[in-house]
């Protein structure tokens, strides 16, 4: 089933040398089966998908693995360093991922989603290890997309270390709690993108993790994020394909909402119909 496409007016997402038509980046983990994953990725409209690097081949009952299903001509693969708890391991995994994607001739060999975790329960990033790994991977020629907490100062440190994109978590990975601290995301946006705060309007800010439902995606975009990266919110939905479609529409809706300049919030009402020419009397006037 294909969705009716229409011109959304949403510009592409540029991260380093990569230009993505969709502002949604989707993960490939946690799907009940590969066919559902393929259909959900299609419905999400994404151009880039994240993968992990592991020893196991994780075959299904027919002996097929992820690579038998992913259309490498269609998707730019974004390898992650998920599960790494120090900079050295993250760098090892990033280089292994690059070698794999070079073999496959996929443009994703140039970039990496850097995760250096501090703790297995929260999956929150270790800022010290993340910064160190970011510096080394940038020096090694990688386009680094950096998973981070929603700490505004950390975001600027990662940007200064050469990260091509800073990707603050909306809330912990897989938690589905959405944007836990919208003000923090707004401050990060200002510091990274607003010239009045030393930012660059072209610097890409991607909200990564914690997204549970389309309104979370829309909120991230309305706060001024350039994109959203998500996995569990789609993969573990009861109907991943319909949820992927919802996430796509929310991403476009939020991007348009932010770009269009919302009205100010006011305490009192402001009538949409004119007060002039009324045929009745207005109480109190």
């Amino acid at each position: 089933m294909s969705m009716t496409t229409f011109e959304t007016g949403v510009d592409p997402l540029c991260i380093g040398p990569f230009t993505l038509k969709s502002r949604l980046i989707a993960g490939t983990g946690k799907y009940a089966c590969w066919d559902v994953m393929c259909e959900a990725l299609d419905a999400s409209g994404c151009d880039a998908v994240t993968v992990a690097v592991r020893r196991e081949r994780l075959h299904d009952a027919e002996g097929r693995s992820l690579l038998d299903y992913l259309d490498l001509d269609r998707y730019t693969i974004l390898p992650n360093t998920a599960g790494c708890f120090d900079a050295a391991d993250a760098i090892r995994v990033a280089r292994l991922g690059r070698d794999l994607l070079e073999q496959l001739g996929n443009a994703g060999a140039q970039w990496v989603k850097l995760e250096v975790l501090g703790d297995r329960t929260t999956l929150l990033p270790d800022p010290v290890g993340t910064l160190q790994a970011c510096q080394e991977l940038v020096a090694d020629g990688f386009t680094v997309l950096c998973y981070s907490s929603d700490d505004p100062i950390m975001a600027t440190r990662l940007r200064d270390a050469g990260a091509a994109s800073v990707m603050p978590a909306g809330s912990p990975i897989g938690s589905g709690r959405g944007i836990a601290n919208p003000a923090a995301i707004q401050i990060i946006r200002n510091l990274l993108k607003d010239p009045a705060h030393g930012g660059d309007p072209g610097y890409p800010l991607v909200v990564d993790a914690g997204v549970g439902t389309p309104s979370d995606v829309a909120l991230a975009m309305e706060l001024g994020a350039d994109g959203v990266l998500l996995n569990t919110g789609i993969a573990h939905a009861k109907d991943p394909v319909a949820m992927a479609r919802g996430m796509r529409l929310a991403c476009e809706a939020g991007a348009l909402g932010y770009r269009s300049g919302r009205i100010e919030k006011k305490l009192y009402a402001s009538a949409s119909s004119p007060w002039t020419g009324m045929i009745n009397e207005i109480p109190g006037e």
Binding site: G27, G29, Y31, S65, P79, R92, D99
Partner: protein, 56 residues
């Protein structure tokens, strides 16, 4: 484990790992995929073989 291959490329064949793309480290160092046929194995080498799996 005991293997009879002389090079990394042969080893991947022996382990039937040539069917899906993989990346390989020898003793903690990445061996670029184009170099596998030139890398000769030594007694006690530690070989790590990875591939891509679903992830977020």
């Amino acid at each position: 484990m005991d293997v009879c291959s002389d090079t990394l490329e042969d080893l991947l064949g022996e382990l039937q790992r040539n069917d899906t793309p993989c990346a390989v480290e020898r003793n903690g160092e990445l061996v670029p995929w184009r170099s596998r046929s030139q890398v000769r194995l030594s007694e006690g080498d530690c070989i790590e073989i990875v591939t891509m799996v679903g992830g977020g």
